[in-house]
Symmetry: C2
Subunit: 227 residues, 2 copies
């Protein structure tokens, strides 16, 4: 694949630098935030407990704090998801990556799934909402239903994966959503994206944002190409 | 290994039947609860969203509803963990399996870890508390510190694993805790326990409760031995 220097020079703007492992220390969170400041990523994506710490480091920059909600199983209650989302915004998050209720969806309780998302979004206006549907567990038909529900919810992005399921983002799913969505929603690809070529392939397929924890390796590859 | 018929006949009382996968449907939850009623397990262990449904099926039985809190990463905030615990008890849980704050522990912020547990326990009196410390991420020394902190918190059980880390329960960890705890706390082994011999080995090592989703296979092995 060939890509213009423009994309390579701006690839940082596509990246949510993900730091979601449970064993990450406070010092490591700080290091990741400084790294994100250096490269001006779109955001640092963290668990709720780390939101405040990230905000303190990132608050005077363009790098957003992105906090996950109901992560990674999506099976807390609606009430708790709302409280977690609201608290995360109070703590400095301006982007929320919300795991939808996978059990309700697989039970064909689409009304519950959509209403939960709508309520969370209603309670956290003025922030960016990305809905994680965990494609690893969905049939082809369900991936299409998922897109419809997430568009209906009013979210800004549909996001493929948590990175904690058996399988991460699939390029074909991004292409499918891109062709069906007619730009009514953006797409975030995440899970198993570990090198520059994969990042570029997902962007080429239609992804507007990339979630990855292999950011250091990817940016080294970018620097090698740009220099 | 040889074991008395007594243990085999009562092995159901050791088992928390775990149904924690995010894609489980409402109907499957019901089936799992009926299965637990048939075999009279200690509990059915579920995500918060499924607590009410389980309670409706199990309420007139000896089988407890066990709900996980902050599961599986332990990195929601203290405030949200308390709310999740309280709500789960309101919804019918009488046992709570709480993931402690792994990041705070790895950052040596033991005060935060212990206070969080104490506050959750204070807000949910009269239920059984099991604290998941996720041994997969702990050094030998940290496993000993973990035991001390969980005993200090006032919890009833220390629990090895979520089942979502790279590694589950280790028999040596259970032996270590059994020898050090002097019966000040009970032990729940979980994660990767998939057959009767493993269940028996963990009980023999000192486990008081076993968390497993391979319950059907295990009970078939028991039935084969007892008949």
């Amino acid at each position: 694949m060939t890509y213009g220097m423009d994309l390579l020079s701006n690839i940082n703007k596509y990246i949510d630098h993900s730091v979601l492992k449970p064993f990450v220390t406070y010092k490591e969170i700080e290091k990741h935030c400084l790294f994100a400041l250096e490269y001006k990523f779109a955001s640092v994506c963290v668990n709720p407990f780390h939101t405040k710490l990230c905000y303190e480091i990132l608050k005077n920059s363009e790098v957003k704090v992105c906090t996950v909600v109901g992560f990674p199983l999506g099976l807390t209650t609606k009430n708790i998801k709302i409280k977690e989302a609201v608290e995360s915004v109070e703590n400095g998050a301006t982007e929320l990556d919300i795991v939808w209720n996978i059990s309700a969806f697989k039970s064909k309780d689409y009304t519950y799934v959509e209403n939960e998302l709508k309520e969370i979004i209603k309670h956290t206006p003025n922030v960016v909402h990305k809905i994680i549907v965990e494609t690893a567990y969905l049939t082809q038909e369900e991936k299409i239903d998922a897109l419809d529900i997430v568009i209906q919810s009013g979210a800004h992005y549909i996001k493929t994966s948590t990175g904690f399921a058996e399988k991460g983002a699939d390029i074909e799913d991004v292409k499918l959503w891109k062709s069906l969505s007619k730009d009514r929603i953006k797409i975030k690809a995440s899970g198993g994206i570990k090198d520059l070529n994969t990042v570029l392939a997902f962007i080429n397929a239609g992804a507007d944002r990339i979630g990855t924890s292999s950011t250091e390796k990817i940016m080294k590859e970018v620097d090698g190409n740009v220099l």
